[in-house]
Amino acid sequence: MAQPAEQLPRPMLPTPFRVLETWEEIPGCMSLRVEPAGTGDAAGACAFAPGQFYMIYVFGQGEVPISISGDPARTGELTFTVMAVGTVTDALCAVQPGGIIGLRGPFGSVWPVDEIEGRDVIVMGGGLGLAPLRPAVYHLLNHRDRYGDLTLLYGARQPRTILYTDQLAGWSANDSIDINVTVDNAGRDWTGKVGVVTDFLNWRRLDPDRTSALICGPEIMMRFSAYALLDRGVAAENIHISMERNMKCGVRMCGRCQYGPFFVCDDGPVFSFDRVQHLFRIREV
């Protein structure tokens, strides 16, 4: 029954990764491209599915959950987009190319990109919530022929906090996905739309039986978006959201990410709305 010590898993021990490149996305928000620092199977070490996240450790500073924001088709490396909001994320945004960080993962459930093949897909992002959605968008576009109509509805606070602007413009230009961006408020030089992201659903034609939605953003944005889609006849099981909770382990052990019966680190972060709708109605779960 006793196992030799070496065979026990070490779920809390990070693996060193080298930062290859960093760039500023928007003020206070950096993207980092990384690869395993050690030798070995880099592709295997970086395999993930859209929607998953890593626990990222900055030497001596701490560890935080960060979603993968890069293209799943680019093997052997990972890209993250990090907003500096506190101790660890500040330190992470300050890491220079060549620097080493520690990674554990990938963890969590995934955007159901395989299950929704053949369907129209509405991707709805709020603020930094576009980062965890981007691997799914890459996947949809990499396999464009497998899906029906593709739509991205994205809301940011201000024009200067719109993530991935060049890329959005590029995708928009090649017509394979319908891109719609709105901001909460803007100066006169903004020629785009001002309003909330759910406004886009008001006039949009959609076939509720053929439509699946992937939503990530602040909880309030996800609530309004999910209910707007329900109102349009999209079934709760075809609406998918990604939850955020405090996380210290990623492996169902620290208890911190509990959301009713769920551990968001492992049962989530992606949930179909029918599984969490009853909790979404209640405050402070």
Binding site: M12, M253, G255, G260
Partner: protein
């Protein structure tokens, strides 16, 4: 554990030292109940003399008092503040260390655990179940905590079957006692009457049987077994509290918006005592630190309580800023969501949270009040509500 159900034996009071001798000879560190500063605690034991001979406790909500017994029972009490949890899941543990390397990177190594193998002596049946509840958390097929797993696999458990119950005990409601039928290495029942002081002993594993073989003992006679049965019956009869578990999961899933939580908020201090004394609570926080030179880093894991606002903090604030939502998290986790997470109740009915709550909040009473208030609500609504839950 495989039950090598040999026939039950009897160890006399004077031969019980042989249990310690056999365990110490096998390099176990015996841990068990002993009296320190007016309470029965768990600590390392040298032998029978360290046991709380002739002591008992009076427990009730927010009450704990050590008292003298009229006899010389060695295990004539129930559960003190301490659970066995700290020995398998330390309150503070260094998980790993890292050193900066000249190339700008760092190397990491798991911190070896220096703890010896523990022999737990006098584990109450409810606490044995609590250990099994934590096994499901820390030794799940997918995710295993190496620190817990190593200590647990090395540990030897000697159960003491209960012959009495405290006013705070409700193991019969939770189906965890007062008698354990398996899952131990050895189980003792203390028999103490006018003409004998002895222990009926059963081995529950091969390791248990081999230890027992070294302790002087005789085969149990029918009257020994009858006396052991009478002990169990006495404990059942004395059971101080009950918790009606019928449909408790659905009851609590349906009670997130109950008015009872506001009432609890007026009494609960959010001190977290109930989570610290609870033998099943497993939540932790992680602290990453460096030394002054900045070249050596360590990761520490500490127990954490869901009663802190930090527990659920995400950017912008705590998910559960009010005490009512934190008490709700605790109670609903213990009795309802735990069942969906781990296939078992998170409460084993040990009663510690009742005794050690500074204001005497009693979960058995709170569940009763929630049940009553939901029943009244349903009656007022004129229908039975369907409670959505996540078990499907």
């Amino acid at each position: 554990m495989t039950a090598t159900t040999n026939k039950a034996g009897v160890i006399s009071r004077d031969s019980l030292e042989g249990l310690f001798d056999a365990l110490i000879a096998r390099d176990y560190v015996p841990v068990g109940p002993t009296v320190r500063e007016g309470v029965i605690v768990l600590d390392e034991l040298r032998g029978v003399d360290d046991l709380p001979e002739g002591w008992t406790e009076d427990q009730d909500a927010a009450t704990y008092r050590l008292m003298r017994r009229a006899d010389a029972a060695l295990f004539g009490f129930n559960n003190g503040q301490h659970a066995w949890k700290p020995y398998l899941f330390p309150p503070k543990a260094k998980l790993w260390e890292a050193e900066k390397t000249p190339d700008g990177g760092f190397s990491m190594r798991e911190t070896p655990d220096a703890a010896k193998a523990f022999a737990f002596i006098g584990v109450r049946p409810c606490d044995l179940h609590a250990i099994q509840v934590q096994d499901a958390v820390f030794m799940a097929e997918q995710n295993t905590d190496p620190l817990y797993a190593r200590r647990r696999r090395k540990a030897f458990t000697v159960v003491i079957q209960c012959g009495q119950a405290a006013k705070t005990c409700f193991c019969t409601s939770m189906d965890t006692g007062p008698r354990a039928d398996g899952g131990f290495d050895l189980a003792l029942t203390e028999i103490l009457d006018a003409d004998r002081h002895s222990f009926v002993v059963e081995a529950g594993s091969a390791a248990g049987a081999s230890v027992l073989a070294e302790i002087p003992h005789s085969e149990a006679r029918p009257d020994d077994l009858a006396a052991a049965e009478a002990c169990t019956k006495r404990a059942v009869d004395q059971m101080g509290r009950t918790l009606d578990t019928t449909g408790v999961k659905d009851l609590l899933y349906g009670s997130y918006e109950s008015r009872r939580w506001a009432d609890l908020e007026r009494r609960c201090l959010a001190c977290g005592n109930c989570t610290m004394v609870c033998p099943t609570c497993f939540c932790t926080t992680v602290e990453d630190v460096t030394d002054l030179s900045g070249t050596h880093a360590e990761r520490w894991r500490h127990w954490e309580s869901c009663y802190t606002t930090d527990f659920s903090y995400i950017h912008g604030g705590s998910v559960r800023p009010t005490i009512r939502s934190r008490y709700r998290q605790w109670l609903v986790h213990k009795l309802a969501t735990w069942q969906d997470q781990f296939g078992t109740s998170g409460c084993v009915g040990c009663g510690r949270c009742i005794t050690w709550c500074p204001v005497g909040i009693d979960l058995t009473e709170e569940v009763r009040l929630i049940r009553d208030s939901e029943r009244k609500k349903d009656a007022a609504d004129g229908h039975v509500q369907e409670h959505p839950h996540a078990s499907d």
